[in-house]
Amino acid sequence: MSTIETYRDQFRTHAASLPGAGLPWMDELRAAGLDRFSKGGFPTQRNEAWKFTSLRPLEKVTFALAQDGAADSVPVDLIPSVMPVGEAAHRLVFVDGRFRRDLSNMAGLPEGVRLEPLADTLARDPEVVAEHLGRTATLDGHPLLALNLAFLTDGVLLRLAKGVTVETPIELVFIGTGAAVGPVSWHPRILILAEENSEATVVEHHVGLDGAVYFSNVASEVVVGRGARLHHYKMQREGTTAFHLATVTARLARDASYDTFVLNLGAALSRHEARSVLDGTGVECRISGAYAVRGQQHTDITTLIDHAKPRCTSREVVKGVIDDQARAVFQGKIIVRPDAQKTDGYQLNRALLLSDQAEIDSKPELEIYADDVKCSHGATAGELDDAQLFYLRARGIPLEAARGLLIAAYLDEAVDEIRHETVREHFRGRVHAWLEAR
């Protein structure tokens, strides 16, 4: 059976039991998603946006939809969190794609904050979903979003009412355990709606056991309203045999601030695609990230920052370390529309190659249609600096330790882009753990 047939077949089997089944608009959306995916299946490298990332290894595996109840009782003894041990975080936990109420904590949120699994919303209050699902994440040219829509199993609804501030980070945790027999897939949809002048910090953790074969296809839709401030951080530490493909689309209204950071450490194959439309004046958008990969890992950060209105600022700093035969991809496109005068855009991409066989493909793209703008971008790739290494060694620091210090410094600098101190320290700790495992 072809890949497309396999997915169509699964759809026939499961459609009736997926959340929201029977709601006509939802059924229609799913069918549209399936149709769109069926037109070409997974993107190939002939597709410009996927030029450097091949999904062939993903196509070769047949994944069952995470559906049975096996994951509902898998014991989980350590739930990743940026919070100090013992301090409660607001969080939703998903194990092998299934929501785990017993591990989640939605209590104690300020009034005006709605945080729940999306399947609950679809069951009790489907209008909210109808209003937002697929609005920011349109399907044009997006087979993965289409696939996510067709198979949308569960996900998150986070809604911040006008003017509400949440101090404690809200954590969204996705754990892959490999408890199911054979490879499984899940397609969570995360809807984040930050209304006027609200503020919150969202931290996603995607973790998994090494050796578990699974495919996590995450689609996030983010709406940041007028003057709202959303800090959105993501830690990707999937297991070594996992596939992680995430697409985040964001629409930012006037004076909104959207501050994001992604750290890619895990998965055999991962891609984080972030597209933001700066859709009002005075928006501040930060799309930054770091990665550290080794072995045969492949990681891809692809971004689109669309300056649609005047006087917006965007900043993008992506740095990574590539060891062994690992490969990394960075594609960063900035569009400045004719209307977007006084745009201030900054993009920096740096890669540190630790072995002769490590590889980086970097493609910055600026499309500027306005004349009064300030846009700069830079891309560098290189090895550790010999002069710095010698200096450290001349002071008695052994070669490997000297390399470790320089690599840590390099990644720390990237992680410093994270404004939230607690989150920054947590991410820094993860980077250092990665180094220690070298």
Binding site: D386, A387, Q388, F390, Y391, L392, R393, A394, R395, G396, I397, P398, L399, A401, A402, L405, L406, A408, A409, Y410, D412, E413
Partner: protein, 252 residues
């Protein structure tokens, strides 16, 4: 036994011969100065001794404290007690001076079988050494040499030397970029380390530094060889007459 014994040392950089037969013996406790015109090979000699890649020894030998120095990795040379104060100290963004010094000191202690210092012990030590060199806590917390003025970088080299307590310190143009007050502070720091067990090799272009760190022996290096050796008066003579008599490529 001599601390450092260089015999007929030849070295090339990019296949270009730079050192062409250096002989130099330094005994414990002695202070030697090497003076010479720009481009004569002074820094090359210091890099060869410290073990920098790209500086290839083609002939000769170097014994340090009885062992074949040329066989050792740079970090092993440091652990054996060799220290090079760089002419151009390297900036290392993202690594604080404190981390750097702690890693260095503990690596050296470990290789000698000594106990590593914990954070408190280390902090106490480094504060005390820094104070002697008029360095602030803030400079200790900053990234290594990043944003340091020329003089601050040289003081930072002196601080590292004070913390690591080498047997032989090679100071490569430690005076360049220093005003007279900074020069005095650095020289004081260096002199504080002088003792019967510690030797210095002071590389300089000018005689000025030698007013403050008074050498036992002065050598003149030109064209990759030691052309003359004398007492501290030789430095004064060079100051008066320049390096002309050595056919020096002063402008090179």
């Amino acid at each position: 036994m001599a601390l450092l014994e260089i015999r007929n040392l030849h070295a090339t950089v990019d296949d270009k011969p730079i050192l062409k037969g250096i002989d130099l013996t330094i005994n414990p406790g002695e202070v030697h100065a090497i003076m010479g015109p720009n481009g004569s090979g002074k820094s090359t000699l210091s890099y060869v001794l410290a073990g920098r890649e790209g500086y290839e020894v083609t002939e000769g030998s170097v014994l340090f404290d009885g062992v074949d120095l040329l066989e050792l990795e740079p970090e092993e040379r440091a652990a054996a007690g060799l220290f090079l104060a760089f002419q151009y100290p390297v900036e290392i963004p993202g690594v604080t001076n404190a981390t750097f010094l702690k890693e260095a000191l503990n690596a050296i202690r470990k290789s000698k079988g000594e106990k590593e210092l914990d954070a408190m012990q280390f902090l106490k030590l480094i504060r005390q050494k820094a104070a002697q060199l008029n360095m602030t806590d803030e400079m200790i917390k900053r990234a290594v040499n990043v944003g340091f003025s020329g003089g601050e970088k040289k003081r930072n080299e002196a601080l590292q030397m004070a913390v690591l307590q080498p047997k032989l310190a090679i100071l490569d143009e430690t005076d360049s970029g220093l005003d007279i007050d900074a020069l005095k502070i650095v020289a004081e720091g260096v002199n504080a380390l002088r003792g019967p067990e510690r030797s210095l090799l002071v590389i300089t272009h000018y005689q000025r530094l030698l007013d403050y760190i008074v050498p036992d022996v002065v050598h003149v290096l030109a064209h990759g060889r030691i052309q003359r050796t004398g007492g501290k008066d030789l430095a004064l003579e060079l100051e008066r007459n320049g390096y002309g008599e050595f056919g020096a490529n002063e402008a090179a």
